[in-house]
Symmetry: C2
Subunit: 340 residues, 2 copies
C-alpha cells in the first residue's frame, strides 16, 4: 500500500530519488575534496586558477569524485587517500570539459558553441593540459601504480571516444552500437575508473573492484543516455539548462537515431537537413521535438537507460545492505528519474 509522503519524507516512504542521501553520507569527504581542488589548481600563472575555477566553481554535481569517495567507503576504507584521488578524477573531468569546449572555425560560422567565448580555444586547451598534468602529479604523490594505470587508461579511452564522436558527428548512419561505444568511452569510462579507484585504495579483493567498476560503467551509460534524452525534453528547462543544445550542434544522439530510423522519408529528410547539413531555422527544434514524441524516441532512450541502471544495481549485490549502498542505488534511480 503506497503512502504519499513529502519529498523530504522519511526512509521507507516513496520519495523522489535524489543524490542527497549520498551527498549527506560523504559530505565531509567531499568538503575535503573541494579544499584539495582549490589548493592544487593554483599556479603563479593567474589565468590558470581563474579559468579552471570558473568551470570548477560553477561546478556540476561533483558526481565523479563522489563515486570515488562512495566506492572507497563502501569497501570499508578508513583512510584519507580517496580524497586526493577523488580530486584527480575531478581534474581529469574538468580537463575533458575544457577540451570539449574547443571549437572549429566551421562551428563558429554556425554560430553555436560559445562555451569558451570568454578566454578562447587556446586558453581552454592549455588550462585543460595543466589540470590533466596536475592530476597525474597528484597520483604520483599518492604513489599507487595501480591507480595511475586505471586513470591513464581511462584518459586514453576518453580521448578515443571523443575522437570517435568527432568522426561520427553529423552522420545519421551511425548505428546504435557505435553510439553506445562512444558514450561508453567518453562518459562511462571515467565513471567506471572513479569507482574502481575507490575499491583499489581500500585494498579490497579484485571481485569488489570489478563490481564497483561495473556499477560505475553502467551508471555512466545510463547517465549519458538520460542527458541525451533531456536535451530534447521540456524537463531540461526546469533543471536550469537550455533545451536543444545537441540539436543546434548537429550532435547525433540516441533519441535522434531512433526517430530517424522510425521516421518516413520526409522525416528523414528533415533530420538530414537539420543535423547533417546543420541547416536550421527557428521552428526546427519544435518540429524535432514533435517527431521524437511521435516515435517515442525520448521515452525509449530512457527505457534503454533503465536497462543499464538495472545492471548497475545488480553490480552492487555482493555488498551487504546499509545506508551507503542504498544511497548509491538511489543515485542510479536519480540518474534515470531526473528525466521526468
Amino acid at each position: 500500500m503506497a503512502i504519499v509522503v513529502p519529498l523530504s519524507g522519511g526512509r521507507g516512504g516513496r520519495k523522489r530519488p535524489s543524490l542527497d542521501p549520498l551527498l549527506h553520507l560523504i559530505e565531509q569527504d567531499l568538503g575535503a575534496v573541494n579544499r584539495v581542488i582549490l589548493e592544487r589548481m593554483t599556479s603563479r600563472v593567474e589565468l590558470i586558477p581563474q579559468l579552471a575555477g570558473h568551470l570548477i566553481a560553477s561546478g556540476g554535481k561533483r558526481l565523479r569524485p563522489m563515486l570515488t569517495l562512495a566506492a572507497a567507503r563502501l569497501c570499508g576504507y578508513q583512510g584519507a587517500r580517496h580524497v586526493l584521488l577523488a580530486a584527480c578524477v575531478e581534474f581529469i573531468h574538468t580537463a575533458t570539459l575544457l577540451h570539449d569546449d574547443v571549437v572549429d572555425e566551421s562551428d563558429l560560422r554556425r554560430g553555436s558553441a560559445t562555451a569558451n567565448v570568454v578566454w578562447g580555444n587556446k586558453a581552454s586547451v592549455l588550462v585543460g593540459d595543466f589540470l590533466f598534468s596536475r592530476a597525474f602529479q597528484l597520483m604520483v604523490e599518492d604513489g599507487s601504480l595501480e591507480v595511475l594505470r586505471i586513470l591513464s587508461g581511462a584518459s586514453a579511452v576518453i580521448a578515443e571516444g571523443e575522437v570517435m564522436q568527432l568522426v561520427t558527428s553529423n552522420d545519421l548512419a551511425t548505428s546504435e552500437d557505435a553510439y553506445l561505444e562512444v558514450i561508453s568511452a567518453k562518459t562511462a569510462a571515467l565513471f567506471a575508473a572513479a569507482c574502481r579507484v575507490g575499491a583499489v585504495v581500500a585494498e579490497r579483493p579484485r571481485v569488489e573492484a570489478d563490481a564497483l567498476e561495473s556499477y560505475g560503467r553502467n551508471l555512466g551509460i545510463a547517465f549519458q543516455l538520460v542527458d541525451d534524452a533531456l536535451d530534447y525534453s521540456a524537463r531540461q528547462a526546469t533543471l536550469g539548462k537550455t533545451v536543444g543544445d545537441d540539436f543546434r550542434e548537429g550532435k547525433i544522439t540516441l533519441p535522434v537515431l531512433l526517430a530517424y530510423r522510425r521516421g518516413d522519408s520526409e522525416e528523414r529528410a528533415f533530420w538530414r537537413r537539420t543535423l547533417e547539413d546543420v541547416d536550421q531555422s527557428e521552428a526546427d527544434l519544435a518540429t524535432a521535438q514533435r517527431l521524437l514524441e511521435r516515435h517515442n524516441a525520448v521515452r525509449d532512450t530512457v527505457e534503454r537507460a533503465r536497462h543499464y541502471g538495472a545492471m548497475a544495481t545488480d553490480a552492487l549485490a555482493l555488498f551487504g545492505d546499509g545506508e551507503l549502498k542504498r544511497a548509491m542505488l538511489d543515485a542510479i534511480e536519480f540518474s534515470i528519474e531526473r528525466a521526468y
Copy 2:
C-alpha cells in the same frame, strides 16, 4: 695549426658541428624508439594514428627522445627501458605540438596559423590528449614512480609556460626575464626531463641526474633562443623553413624585445603596429629584419644562447671523456651554430 677537412672528415679536424655523431652512436636505440612509437600510437579509431602519424612521421629530429637515450647510455645503462621512455617523451612533445596548433577565431581572421587546417582544432586537441594519456600508460608499464614524477611535473610546467606565453603574447612590455621564464617552461622543461629520465633508468646517483637535467635545461634554452633568432634569419630559408612565422603571428621573442628596447620612438611604433596590433603589410617583414640587423638583435640573441650552451657544456664535466660525451657536446654546438 688548423687543417681544412671535408665535412665528413675524421675526428680532430675542424668540422661543422652536427647531430650526426650523436645520431650515429644511438642509431639502434632510436630505431627501436621509432618502432615503439608506431606500435603504440595505434588505435581502432583510425583518425588517431592518421593525424598523429602525420606529425610524427613528418617528424622533427627526434631531439628529445635522443636526449633520453644519450643520457641513459652516458650513465652506462645497458638495459632497454630507456627506449620505451624515450617514446613517452616524444609522445608528450607531439601532444604539445598538436595543442600548440590550436587557434582562435581571431588568429584565423588574421589569416595565419593553418597548421591544423587539415583536421581542425578539435581533432588536434583530442589526438593530443590521446598521445598524452598513452605516454602515461607507457610510463605505468615501465613502473617507475620517479619517472612518472619527472614527466608529469614537466608536463604541468609546459602547460604553465604555454599559458604564460598566451598571456604575454602581443605585449612588447614583456621583460627579457619573463621571456626566459616562458621558454624555460615551454621548451627547456621537457629537454631537462628527457635527460633526467635517462639518468634515472640507469639508477645513477642524484648528482649525475642533476647534471644531466642541467645539461638538458640549458641546451633547451639555447635551442629555443636560436629558433627564435632563426625565424628572422635568411639562414632559416636554407633549412627549409619559412622566415617570419613568429612575426606574422605577433609573437614576442627575444630578437624583437632587444630591437624594441634599443629602437627610437618611430621604430617602437613600427613594432607596436606590427606585433601588438598585428596590422602588417607585405613590406613589413623586410623592415623588421632591417631593424633587427641595425640593433644586432639576432646576433645578440645567439650570443645569449652561447651563454646557456656554455652552462650545458660545463654540466657534463663530471662525466669522463668519451665518444658519447663528445657527441653530446657537439649537439650543443650544433644547436647554436645552425644559426649561421
